[in-house]
Symmetry: C5
Subunit: 92 residues, 5 copies
């Protein structure tokens, strides 16, 4: 999974029917030190993550293994809201 921060929401009325009702969150990737990377993704939210929260998202076919996204044309889904990172090894 990839570490990111929810920074906003995407609104789209014209879309594949299977996406109806899904919340599409903008998630920017995070470095280990909490700084934002220059990469973001649009992920379906399956855990009620709000803007500003640190999350984990899964990509690819694994993004279709939640109840909400099964068999849907979704390639990224938020699967967890992060409480804490314990970085105990030497990260650099």
């Amino acid at each position: 999974m990839t570490l990111g921060k929810v920074i906003g929401t995407v609104w789209a009325t014209r879309k594949d029917d299977q996406l109806t009702g899904m919340k599409l969150q903008l998630v920017q990737e995070l470095q280990l030190d909490g700084k934002l990377k220059d990469r973001f993704i649009v992920a379906v939210d399956s855990v009620g993550a709000g803007v500003g929260e640190t999350v984990l998202f899964a990509q690819g076919s694994s993004a279709r293994q939640t109840d909400l996204t099964r068999d849907k044309p979704v390639d990224a889904v938020i699967v967890a809201i992060v409480d804490k990172l314990d970085v105990t090894g030497d990260a650099n």
Copy 2:
């Protein structure tokens, strides 16, 4: 999903039979500020997206989860036309 802008169309008469009738759109990736990235993809259009529109596309096996693309050799599909981005978190 990935944020992009439709910038053109690809024409191909010699192709896998399963692609017959599919519109192949050139989609260039977008930054959060609306500027174009130096990356593009060719995606099947399943939502009637025209040139100049901002879209979301899904990749990989998830690109085969629309009615149009199921079981086809397609690895990118446009799944939504974006109305608006709400970037409310600190994106940088």
Copy 3:
């Protein structure tokens, strides 16, 4: 799908039995302006693409959705020979 140009062929006699008879083409990725990128892939050819032709290739599990490649250990397949790109949006 990804835009590329066929620049050569790979010859391999010792290989997984399931690849027997498949033509393995070297495909270099293309920029929108027709220049070659510094990235290439080896793709199975399912449409009779010759050296010098501009093609689209599909990757990942989608590369196994042609008659030729179904259930084979193939992660890239040429699915179309490009006639023309219409880039009508502002690509930069």
Copy 4:
């Protein structure tokens, strides 16, 4: 598979139910010379890898082929703890 080093753990109480009980490890990618790359992933641990250990992780749908992760929204899993690398070819 990708070579990495376990450098820490992610704690998340609000998550997809299917992730309950899984240990989420921070794994930073390694170069051949043992130095850490500037890339990390969050992987489910299926082999009891501790912080500081060198591991191999699998990604994508292959990350769902362990007993622990089958059909779960998991896109990275640690599958081996590395004892030794024999680099006998000229690596540069």
Copy 5:
């Protein structure tokens, strides 16, 4: 598929049971001119490739389509040993 050169072997005694008996080879990616790229992967060997040989490897779910790797947590497999590259187009 991706072009690479076998440069070594990974030894791991503690691993997912499904990897038992598989040879895990270090494969460094190659440029078209035969120089090594700064990227490597650990791939299961299904064709008896030795150190120093030029190979093709498949990634993702396609890496599970050999007899050796089917349904295993393996995301890269060597599928061919390369005899020769014919680069007849203008590669630059």
